[in-house]
Amino acid sequence: MESLIPVLVLTLIVIGFGVFLVVVSSKLGPKTKPSALKQESYECGIEVQESGSSKIPIKFYLTAILFILFDIEIIFMYPWAITFTDSITGGYGLQVLIAMGIFLFIFIIGLFWEVKSKALEWE
């Protein structure tokens, strides 16, 4: 496809630019001997209590999975939105509107239930 090649070329340009900057700055900067104290993770001056990958709240998982579900529903509205005028002029606009209405109704039930069940509460 015609439009994929420039996208790939631009990606390569960006990556090349980024790698160039990183490499140049690591060559130009002053070098000092690495010491255990210096390489330690930053923790506001105290000794490191735990490593970076400690456990995280399950809320993040829940947010991500709810995001996927709603994202899929929204993606389904996109082809509907750009063809809606065509369907109206084609004479079956009401049918399409009702079909999307039912879909949106289920969507709203889902959202309402999420709010009611306090799944979206952060403390």
Binding site: E2, S3, P6, V7, V9, L10, T11, I13, V14, I15, F17, G18, V19, L21, V22, S25, S26, L28, G29, P30, P34, A36, K38, Q39, S41, Y42, E43, E50, S51, G52, S53, S54, F60, T63, F67, F70, D71, I74, I75, M77, Y78, A81, I82, T83, F84, T85, D86, I88, G93, L94, L97, M100, L104, F107, I108, L111, E114, V115, L120, W122
Partner: protein, 363 residues
């Protein structure tokens, strides 16, 4: 990319120029931000180096390059180095898909060429931009994981949770725009905004801009892009009172600067999208592009329209900066509540109202 060497060469140069435009805007915006914040807070800001402190940017860039490199002592070096590079990609790819002015048609060596005033034309522009910018979360996750620091990790997790929460409202507020313009293509969206607004059968002096059809959608979109770009009042991922500096705690020098390029690139894309969807793109209001081409010729008209576009984008970039120094930061639960319980229902309402009105008017 083109039929012969001249076309391929110019199209490649165009990509390079557009990317450098995005990179170049960063020091300029940093300067505007520092001077602007100083102005808002009744300070001076950088005013020593060069006229109005403008060469401060160059000094900063050189200083960033000569900083000592720091890498955390863990076997996650590759992700640590890759994250700032990845942070540049989504903004650049999205910005190149937006038309910045009318196409230029010129003759070179007896052959006529047509060059689009944009990096590349993607038929499904809006979906492409949404898809590419949804990859922005990975740079943050890679930085958070590669740094091996719990502040970085939590900053990255917060950032990605925030980005995905507001991506819903962002995507849904665009459904209204799609219902109005019936296309994914940026060029067609701009073209249909070039006429005058018709109200109740009479033509008014107002331009036919998207904001007149989608006022609620506009507000939702602007709030959502503020959250997507992690700017104040939504900059929870780098809330310094809680998380030191968020996902770039362990970064310094040019690598941290690259995250800034990514962030300002996102701001640039966001402003360009706002202008394209709601403010007529490069629409010069009082004339049509056709009239300008007739008066000034194709190349000059394209450059003039590009200046119009950049002026509108600059206005929104200033609003980004203005808001940053005006509003305080949200608390994290308030942020998530706003995204899921306020923005999402309102975006749904906007979609339903637009669909019903469209059906009522067009049936």
């Amino acid at each position: 990319m083109g039929s012969d060497l001249i076309e391929i060469g110019i199209n490649t140069a165009k990509l390079l120029v557009i990317f450098l435009m995005m990179v170049q805007i960063v020091p300029l915006l940093v300067w505007v931000e520092r001077r602007g914040s100083a102005f808002i807070q009744n300070r001076f800001g950088p005013n020593r180096v060069g006229p109005l402190g403008l060469t401060q940017l160059l000094a900063d860039a050189v200083k960033f390059l000569f900083k000592e490199e720091f890498v955390p002592d863990k076997n996650r070096r590759f992700l640590f180095y890759a994250a700032p590079v990845v942070a540049l990609i989504p903004g650049a790819l999205a910005f190149a898909a937006i038309p910045l002015s009318i196409p230029i048609e010129i003759d070179i060596m007896g052959k006529s060429y047509k060059f689009l005033f944009q990096g590349y034309e993607v038929g499904i522009g809006i979906v492409f931009v949404l898809g590419v910018s949804s990859l922005g979360a990975y740079a943050l996750l890679m930085a958070g994981y590669g740094s091996n620091n719990k502040y970085s990790m939590f900053g990255a997790l917060r950032a990605s949770a925030q980005m995905i929460s507001y991506e819903l409202a962002l995507g849904l507020s665009l459904v209204g725009i799609l219902l109005v313009f019936n296309t994914f293509d940026f060029q067609q969206i701009i073209d249909s905004q070039l006429t005058n607004f018709v109200f109740m059968g009479t033509e008014t002096a107002l331009p036919n801009w998207g904001i007149l059809y989608q006022p609620l959608g506009f507000i939702l979109f602007v709030v959502a892009v503020f959250a997507e770009t992690n700017r104040l009042p939504f900059d929870l991922p780098e809330a310094e009172s809680e998380l030191v500096a968020g996902y770039h705690t362990e970064y310094g020098g040019i690598k941290m600067n690259m995250f800034y390029i990514g962030e300002y690139g996102h701001m640039l894309v966001a402003s360009a999208l706002i202008v394209t969807f709601y403010f007529g793109g490069y629409d010069p209001i009082f004339w049509t592009p056709g009239e300008l081409v007739a008066t000034y010729g194709n190349v000059m008209a394209a450059l003039l329209l590009h200046v119009v576009f950049l002026t509108k984008v600059g206005l929104f970039l200033w609003i980004f900066i203005w808001v940053r120094w005006t509003l305080p930061r949200f608390r994290y639960d308030q942020l998530m509540d706003l995204g899921w319980k306020t923005m999402l229902p309102w975006a749904l309402a906007n979609t339903i109202i637009t669909a019903v009105v469209a059906f009522w008017l067009r049936a």
